[in-house]
Structures are given as C-alpha cells and as structure tokens.
Symmetry: C2
Subunit: 517 residues, 2 copies
C-alpha cells in the first residue's frame, strides 16, 4: 500500500512538473529529505584513526570517517571471494550507457581519493586515509590545492584571455595541455599529483606524451574520463570569455573565480539532475539548493571509508568499447587519450551514449580487473568493516535472514553459502555486489540507498549553494541564466562543440532505448 | 513593553530553575536561538582573500572570513584616533574580576590566532590570515596540530601514567614542563609554536627559563593566562588517572583521547556557564548541546576578521595586579611565570578573583598598550571593514543618527566629532569601544551581541557536543558525571589543589560584591 501511494505521488510529481511547479518543488523537497534521513546525520563519531570517539576522529580529516564502528567478523570459509565477481559471459545494463561509468568515475575520483600506498609498502595505514578536499569542487579539473590551481591557470597579464585555464588546440578542438615532454613532467606542472602508474607509462611514450596536465591524478585513467574533464575545461574557458566580455574592468583573478563558481555549480546540477536521476528508480529530482539551508543534515562533509569501497563499480566497464567505429579492449583504452584525440569530443560523447555499460552484478567483472576486487575485499577487512547485514540495518533496509534473501540467483546463493557460515557473516563489499538490483535502477538497494544519501547530503551542502551565496551576483547575470538552463551533459556539450548537435545525436547517461518496467 | 516581558521571562527562568527544569531548558533554548539569529548564519560569503564570492573565499580557511564585504570609508579628519583609548585615570569594572581578562585571553588566543607578520615585513596579507583550527579545542593546551600534541604528551609505554600530558612538580604543585634550557628551546619541543617576543626573551633569562612548553604561543603571555592553562593541564592529567584506573585494559592512546574529550567539554561548559553568563546582562544560560543539533545555524565555524579585532580588550588590564600580596605593574607581569610559581595556583586564582578588572570603555587603555590600539585601527583599515554603523545595522541594533547616539560621555562625543565628518564614517573598531556599556554587562551593546552570537554558534557546534557523540560512552561514566557536575572554574580548581578551597575563598569571573542594577 505504502509503495502504491509512493508510486502515485512520484508519477504525479513527474508528470505535472510544468503545470504545478510549486507542487513539484514540494514533492522534491520531501523526497530528498526522505532519502537523506535514512541515514544518521553527520558528524560521524568515528574515523579510521580510532575505534572510539576522539578529538582526532572528529577533526583530522585525512583519516576517512566511518558510518559504523570497527568490528571483527567471523572469517569466511574460502579465500577466493573475488571469484564471486569473475565474469564468465558479459551482462550489459539495459538502462545505463557508457557515460554512466565515465561520469561516476570522474565524480568519485575527484572526491573519494583513498590514499595510495607506495609500491611494496604496507597498505595500512594509507588505505585508511584520503587526500580528499571533502567537497564536490571539480578538483580533477582545478586541482586539490591553491598551488595546483595556480599552475593550471593561464594567468593572463594582458587584457585578453582573462580567467582561462591553460589549454591547447588539436584538430581545431580545445584540450588540456600535455603533462609530459620527452624528458618527463614539464617543470611548470611539477606540483600536480602524478598520474597513475608512472612507471608503466615510461614504457609507452605514445600514450605518455598524450597524458593531460589536469587537477586529478585519475583524470587520465581512461579516454572516457578525460573526455568529461575536457568538457568542463571547455565550459570554464568559454564562460570566462563571456564573463570577461560582460565585465570589462574585472581582472584575470575575478574572471577566473567567477567562472569557477559557475562551472562547479553546473557540475553539481549534472550530479543531481542527470546522474542521480539515472540511478533513481522513478522519482525525477531537481537541484533545489534551498532544501539544505535549514536542514538538520546540513553538516560538514567527511569522506567515509565505506564510500571508498562501495563506488568500485568495475562491472560497469564492458569488455570493449568502440571509438569512432573501431573496437578497443579495456586494456587498450587505459590512459589512452589518443582515442579521444582521434575522434574528438562530440563523437566521443555520441559513441559512449550509444553503448550499454556493463551491469553491476555478481560474476560480471572483467578478468583484467579481478585483482581490484580482491584488493577491495582486503581493504574492507583491513578497516574492520561491519557486516553487510549491519549496513542494511543501518540504512533502514531489512536484514537478510537467509542466503536466498540476498539474491534470487542460485549461483550467487550457492557461492555465498560456500563462503560464509551464516548470512550475518557476509562482508559489506561482497553483499553490496551480491544483491539483486533494485527495479528500474542500475544499483542494488543497499548501494542505491548509500549512494543517494551521500550524493544529496554532500552535494547540497556545497557552500556555493548556501543561503547567502546562492544568488545572481555570485555568478553574474550570464552565469545565473546558464545555471538555470543547464540540466544535462548534452546541454553543456552543445555549447562546446563547433558543429552543434542535431536531434539524431543522442547524448545521455540513460540509454535512449530504456523504458521503465 | 517587549523589554518588560523579556525581563519577566528572564527572571522567571532564572529563579525557577530548580523547580521547573523543563521550563528552564525551554527558555534557554529560546534565548540562545534568539541571540544567534541576530546575525546571518554561516557560511560567510566573503573572506579576506577576495572582495567577492569565490571558491577560495568559501574554502581556504587560512584566510579569515568576514561578516560584511569590503568597503572604502571616508578617511577620518585626525590621525591620532588611538588617543580615544588613552587612559588618564584608570576606571575599574564593578562586575568583572581579573579572571575575566585571563579567561577571555586564554579562550581567544586558542581560537582567533591572526597571523603575525615577521619583523619589518609588510603586514598585509598576513594580518588577513589566521592559524586557527576554527574550533574551541583547547589548542593552547594540546597544540594546533597532531605533531604538536604528540610532543606535549608523556606517551607512557609502561602500565602507569597513561594518557598524561608532560608536566613537572614545583613546590609540590603540577605545572607544564619548561620550554627552554640554557641553550634555547629544548629539542623535544622544537615543533611547538615559539612564544611571543623571542628576541626580547633572550635578554631576560630569569623569565625565559620559566616559560612553559605548551600548545599555544600566547599561553605564556601573562601569569594569569598561564594559570588558566595550568588548571586545564592538571584537570586533564587528573582525569587520565581516573580513566586509567577505571579502564585497566585501555592503552595510553585511549586514556589520552578520552581525557581530552572530557577536558575540552569542561572548557566549553565554562565558556557558556561562567564566561557567557558573566557578560550576559541578566539571563543565565545553560550549556545544552541539543539546542544545536537541528539548528539552521549549525554550520562549520570559520574565524572572521571582525573577531580578530573586536576581542582586543586592552582596557581590562589594570595598571597593576597583586600576586601574593605584592603589587606588580603590567610590564612586570608580561610573560612572567615566576609570579604564578611563587604563589601557586590556588592563591593565584583567589588573588585574581579578588581584584577588579579595568572597564572596557574609551580613555581607559594603559599607555603601555596604546600602540596596540593603533595597530588595531590600522588593521581595520587594511581589511577595508565596513563602518561601525553598518555593523550595528548588521546585528539588528539601531544605526546611530548623531554622535551623541554613540556615547553619553561628552568627551567621547567631542572626540568623535573632531575625528569624523559624519557619524556614518565612524570605523568599526573605534565605534565598538566608544559605545556606552550595556546595563549590567561589561560589554557595549555591539560588542555584547557579536561576542554572544559567535560564542554560542561556535561553541555549540563543537563535534563533541553533536547528536551522536554527546553520550556517556564518549566520555566514560566517570567523565560524564564530572561534566554534569562542572559549571565554574571554581569546580575545576577545587579538584586540582592539594588544600581544598573553603567557603571564604571566593573564585569567580564575576566579582563577589557585584549586584545587578
């Protein structure tokens, strides 16, 4: 009955959006609060520094926070739990395009940022720490620190090109500058975080020489992610031109800062109105900053260790991807910006929107990525995470009583049974990905709930959306209008390609053929 | 009429506190919210880094925030505005004892922390920055960073003396260790912030050798401040003994952390229940953490540049102080811990409670401190602060229309008239201290309002008081009981002196002879 009422409200809210904006906003507020209130509000009492409350656990943000306190679970009966993830035959999503993993990765790499241990180093304690700014601030584009931001900027001293990020033109399209020259990292960029796998890169100069100089050490991880970052780079620089033109007395600094204000908010709008709405089974959310102003859950962000695990959606990556009509295996795409440079931004977005992502489910991780599943399981143990059942209880979902409550797939149930003495022993990471999917969502119920709570409660608390900042003068008239008009990646892309998109060019995180069932 | 009703409610709330605890808590909640809501809630849109909203102004906390945006005031007609402060004949407070400046200084030095420019260095931009942790966290006792905290700890590796801060016994009393030996700063303490005036200290070894090794660079500024810090050091170490005894399996780290949790909360209780209640004209507040849990003003702390100015209460310092029956001039007390060591903690507290502080009013700063008033006025100009009138308007006090609206003292009115073209030109710092005092408060109305807003909104947002942390298990049974029983400095002192206080030993920020009028 409750579900029926909810579905009626949802349908009404979605359908009458143009007729009754007031009702739409009201329903949106209720729906948003309802989701966030499934979880305890911050501040989290615990972090990875201590298993009890301490001033350090409440103030030293380099230690990831935790939703539930440390606990020692009964050990599993088998040692190869990563095999629950191993892909036999690839299963594709019916809802998500390859823009979904691209955007999810771009979003989380700029925010979650678990610290990486050095090679051969004891992974504890670094795996318990993070290098996050704890804000959705486009750090992959702008850098994590003021010093990094500085070297990414053009810092024009003339009266032209004010407020721009450094960029270069290739095939008449704008991209970030390259990070390396023949010798190594260009000296101007030494302060940036080094990209992943610097040793491996040395062996493949054709790839290394096309790595972009950007804010995030993972923004070159795949051409899909580099494509997202390039989109926001272009939008920043385009807006800077508009702002510069409309405010002739402003200096480089002010044009830069105001363009950044706008670009971060555009990013937040995409997070809520395209990304969250994609994972939402039915309700279509709108980004309404005022929901947060007086909300009891509006408390400082603090990245949690659970989030550093639950966002590992390796199954989303299909075995191969086409770029400009040609197929490439996962391995061929890793850090390979050549694919993006070859086809350009418009074709890249069209191609990724035309391909289904993998489905997030058991037995569906590419064998090339299986070692990452083992690392994730190990990290959960290192952090003494509570059980899958405890986390379901924590976000107000039913505890499973038997293995078949976790999954309707016999193969999965049998695997879990062979691995754990009791359903209460199932580990967080294993349970998260063993669950059946929520109907009409690409995520399982536990994943969906935790992702939604954090996305809302950490995006809407952004200070740019706060009560005395969220006004036209923060963004200029031009920026304010643009923010109002932007709801999708397509909107932003269309402003940043030479040849506009036409109706047959579909761009979206949700596949054009998807229908809810 | 409104005032009459308020005074009735206030009297009722104060008097029936033992009869109707429910009513008392309700009235306390209303009164606290009423005060905080006089001001715009955080986040502040601006900081000292830009005169407009930017991601930097919203995220780089080393730049002090600002309540009102930068503005260029009309310049004053005379250059010697510090003479408005110059003391002719000392005026003493009728309400405040010398524990008031001691506690105020200890509180603010651990929190406000404007960055000091090096000698002969251009004071801008450092005077616009701070080294604050932006929390009331007893950083003067524990240090500003984990590395500083570490060197201040005993770090016992045996099964005894767990969780203690380093200390030494002098005349059978416990004090922090000394910072210097004959050569200079002891190597173990090199990571601490160096105390004020290190060059001058070199010339006076008798004083330098008694400087304590503590968390704050100003916790040795006077024996009164060192006395406060010593009190909390003793309380921490005493509690660590209690916790250690009650939790035999806990290690040094846990005993330390839990003792720190307790000690910080005791400090917050004193801030609200003794310090705020001292400046409050009538209403007696209680520290009720739950007020903040769902409050719209519960937003992250961020020290403001206005606060780095408004807490300069130099007039509170009387021309001389007695310690153990002997009088010392201000100059003789500066950084001179010998006075405290000579009389001990109990006598020190009794002596300071028996002497009136100076009154915060014009023409009442010791000539020895007059250069500080000039520095403060200059800093206000450097920061382009809005006018005194704008700040009154900001906190919902009436704007002055004429000079005589500021003060009832003709001498003050004449001075202001000779200094400014118009009453709207009066600078923030000048106006703050030119005002008449609020009845029954040691502060002027503008000072009172701004201090109260910030004290409440920054103390009650402390994460140790937050909804899911504020419970017995965070503090242990013993700590929880102690927190409940502690309301005054006297309570804490009595636990940390060998010979208990008796009824004739008065300890208080408010003078024993004070009566409201």
């Amino acid at each position: 009955m409750k579900e029926f009422i909810e579905s009626v409200i949802t349908k009404a809210a979605n359908s009458v959006s143009t007729v009754w904006p007031w009702f739409r906003r009201k329903a949106n507020r209720i729906a948003t609060n309802r989701i966030i209130n499934k979880c305890r509000h911050r501040p989290h009492p615990w972090s990875m520094i201590h298993d009890y409350v301490s001033w350090s656990s409440l103030s030293e943000k380099k230690w990831s926070a935790r939703h539930l306190p440390a606990i020692q679970l009964n050990p599993p009966k088998r040692n190869d739990l990563e095999n629950l993830f191993k892909r036999a035959k690839q299963r594709l999503s019916s809802k998500s395009t390859c823009l979904f993993p691209a955007f999810a990765q771009y979003l989380t790499d700029g925010f979650i940022r678990t610290r990486m241990p050095d090679k051969d180093e004891d992974p504890s304690p670094k795996r318990k720490q993070n290098t996050s700014t704890h804000q959705l601030d486009l750090s992959s584009l702008y850098g994590r620190t003021p010093e990094q931001t500085r070297v990414l900027r053009l810092l024009s001293e003339t009266n032209r090109q004010k407020g721009r990020l450094k960029s270069q033109m290739i095939n008449n399209e704008e991209y970030p500058p390259f990070l390396y020259d023949g010798q190594g990292i260009k000296s101007e960029f030494e302060i940036l975080d080094e990209p992943l796998m610097p040793e491996a890169l040395k062996e493949i100069p054709a790839i290394r020489l096309k790595i972009f100089a950007v804010g995030g050490d993972r923004a070159n991880a795949s051409p899909q992610v580099a494509m997202m970052n390039t989109l926001f780079l272009r939008e920043h620089n385009r807006m800077a031109g508009v702002i510069e033109e409309a405010n002739k007395v402003w200096d480089d600094e002010r044009v830069f800062q105001v363009s950044r204000n706008i670009t971060i908010v555009l990013f937040l709008k995409i997070v809520i109105e395209e990304y969250i709405n994609h994972i939402s089974p039915s309700f279509k959310f709108i980004a309404d900053p005022s929901i947060a102003w007086n909300a009891p859950w509006n408390k400082p962000n603090w990245l949690t260790t659970e989030f550093s695990l639950l966002y590992r959606w390796h199954q989303l990556i299909p075995d191969d991807n086409w770029w400009g009509g040609k197929n490439y295996s996962v391995k061929e795409t890793i850090m390979n910006n050549n694919l993006l440079l070859k086809v350009g931004l418009k074709r890249g977005f069209i191609d990724m929107s035309d391909q289904y992502a993998g489905e997030i489910c058991p037995f569906n991780t590419s064998p090339d990525l299986l070692h990452l599943e083992k690392m994730a399981i190990d990290q959960g143990r290192l952090c003494n995470l509570a059980s899958y059942s405890d986390y379901r209880h924590y976000v107000k979902l039913k505890r499973p009583r038997k293995f078949s409550d976790v999954s309707s797939n016999n193969e999965v149930v049998n695997f879990l049974q062979s691995a754990y003495q009791s359903v209460d022993d199932i580990e967080f990471y294993v349970g998260l990905f063993a669950e059946d999917l929520e109907r009409n969502s690409p995520l399982s119920p536990l994943l969906l709930r935790m992702v939604a709570v954090d996305a809302f409660s950490q995006a809407l608390t952004n200070p740019l959306l706060s009560e005395h900042v969220w006004k036209e003068e923060t963004f200029t008239k031009e920026g304010w209008k643009l923010i109002g008009e932007t709801r999708t990646l397509r909107n932003i892309l269309n402003r940043n390609v030479e040849e506009k998109l036409d109706d047959s060019d579909y761009i979206g995180i949700t596949h054009k053929n998807w229908k809810p069932n």
